[in-house]
Subunit: 378 residues, 2 copies
């Protein structure tokens, strides 16, 4: 096991990457090794090793949960929830956030070198699942000497990982916070992802995924995929409030095909800026993992049965304008948890921001997370 | 004015195309001429010329409202509502349905020959609006000797045209039926269309729209556009009921990127089959027309004011699972109509089929339309 030396972040936290020999046995049956994991940590483990919190990230996010993104220069994606004086605080918690396998921010993914060929895996990277991401995180925690998690927490795909944790490692999770998420991907969820994948694969620069050598990437297809997905992250009311039918620039229709409406310009920007920070093949692999995700399916069709060995406390949060993973999906989880005998609290928060609410200004979310975390230590 | 001779359809109705010299002055200020209009008629005008019904079609539909589509061989798209013994019946009504300008089924559109160059217009075709489509229909009715419409009816974009008719030609419309539609395109509506347009324009075969010469069309981009749009035509519950997470073929995950889930295969099929019957440039032009659509905007911001000169009766229908043009949009129209002093009835129907419900089995829709049409003759 060779550890690449950590280097200090400019703000706080440690930027690290570790190469674990593994191999990791995946749900597909394939073996992945070595397993690179890029991660950030904040704070320090306490004496009784009881303050570790694992934060799981969403589809296009990364390990920079509370530190500056190296490409975009933006603050950590959950700075509102994680940081000094925040509900998850490095002064009290040992915080770990790792880039999921399949991604492109330093953990093993399609852009990684396949040791068998010395070339990037591209589409020869094995198809992974949400459970595989969790197993890789467990390998990282082994490496860090973290036996038990005080809490595992995540929103959206991060919530899928958080919810999977106690099903795979019931003895390692004391509490679990699942925000704006679901226990299985619905037909509509799969459909939107399939549009994105088809957009990428339709781009002639995709070339079956083998585009790493010359750096000519399927950016146009990836941008379209991002645009389609981005609409699902916002609420209809939020879009109307933010953009309505307002026109660009000189406030007149051009009777052409440029971005006349502000919402068109905004979407195009979302697509283009995404291409600069994300790998198209990783987008294929991670959306596939999400589509395969169905915790009940892996437990004979019973979601409750998945949690019978767990002793964790659960906290579920949904947002009223989230139509990607609507409140009903969280209710399904809560009912199953109660049926399994687990302690589970649930709150639907009100927000105009749709699915993206978990990343945006929402003081109630901070209060709920803070209360749940402190309730565990009372 | 040269009329191309009509020829009999194999079933019933007349398949016709007319070249009107025009020119038609468009909302953009451009002049379009000649104006080709392909249309179907069913039934005959009665003695007092009081039985004419104009049916307006949706984005990707056509004039074959109740007769076989020449490319797909499928029955007319509204055969459930239009035909012998149906609410709109050629035995009683003189029924007209015309392909909208901008489309590709015989009416003037980007694939038409530009008389100035002798080449297809492609993206040199002028940008059109919903009102322009209506003005071209009015030219056709002039040609056919139809002064007044007993009814103008349409669903989705057809409803936009139907609702626009009494605002432009208040003396020519006795009643108006608007189904699953809206008085303006919302930011979310525009956003989904923009994804489709970007998918088409990102296809290298699009070539700025000049792809007619060699027949190599931007099919991949158009298929992605159709897939994204198609999701918005269905309800989440409908998709779940129809497909859920059911797998293809041997009922096992392949851990690859083929269409594992039935919903993926279905969407891919929708995309591919659409490419065979529709022109990508027409898709750009018609979605643009829909995005520009806002009746209130054209009347100083007041929707009610648009109808002050109208004496028409109105019938509005929405579907409870339609999230593309939800019931709230129909309510806005009804309130404006009432404010303008118009007689307007409104019903929200229950259907599992989302926006597509107006095209699918819905006996209540037939009863509502039948009752409204007969109420007018009592």
């Amino acid at each position: 096991m060779a550890t690449i030396p950590p280097h200090e972040d400019s703000r706080f936290g440690l930027r690290r990457q570790v190469r674990l020999t593994g191999p990791l046995r995946l749900d597909s049956g394939a073996m992945l090794g070595p397993v690179d994991i890029a991660y950030e940590t904040y704070g320090a483990m306490n004496a009784d090793r009881s303050n570790a919190i694992l934060i799981c990230h969403a589809l296009t996010m990364d390990q920079y949960v509370a530190s500056e993104h190296p490409v975009t220069g933006k603050p950590g994606w959950w700075w509102r929830l994680v940081g000094e004086g925040k509900p998850i605080d490095p002064a009290r918690h040992f915080i770990v956030c790792a880039n999921v396998i399949g991604s492109c921010l330093g953990s093993s993914g399609p852009a990684s070198i396949d040791p068998a060929t010395g070339e990037p895996y591209a589409m020869r990277f094995p198809v992974i699942t949400i459970a595989d991401m969790v197993r890789a995180q467990a390998m990282l925690l082994d490496h860090l000497g973290v036996d038990r998690l005080a809490t595992v927490i995540g929103g959206s795909m991060g919530g899928m990982q958080a919810l999977t944790w106690p099903t795979l490692f019931p003895d390692r999770v004391e509490s679990c916070i699942v925000i704006a998420s679901t226990a299985r991907h619905s037909a509509q969820n799969i459909a939107f992802h399939e549009v994105g994948r088809q957009a990428i694969m339709a781009d002639p620069n995709w070339r079956g995924g083998d585009y790493y050598a010359d750096g000519v990437t399927p950016g146009a297809g990836l941008a379209v995929a991002r645009m389609a997905a981005h609409i699902t992250y916002l609420s209809e009311a939020g879009l109307t409030e933010k953009f309505g039918r307002r026109l660009q620039g000189r406030n007149a229709k051009t009777f052409g095909f440029d971005a006349d409406f502000q919402v068109e310009s905004y979407l195009r920007h979302q697509g283009l800026s995404f291409v600069e920070r994300f790998d198209a093949n990783s987008y294929l692999y991670i959306t596939r993992a999400m589509d395969y995700y169905d915790i009940a399916e892996d437990h004979g069709g019973s979601l409750a049965r998945a949690f019978t060995a767990s002793k964790a406390r659960f906290c579920l949060v949904s947002f009223d304008t989230d139509w990607l993973y609507p409140t009903a999906e969280s209710r399904v989880i809560v009912h199953a948890l109660h049926a399994s005998g687990a302690q589970a609290s649930f709150v639907e928060l009100s927000s105009p921001f749709g699915h993206d609410a978990f990343l945006l200004e929402c003081p109630e979310l901070n209060r709920v997370v803070d209360g749940f975390l402190k309730g565990g230590r009372a």
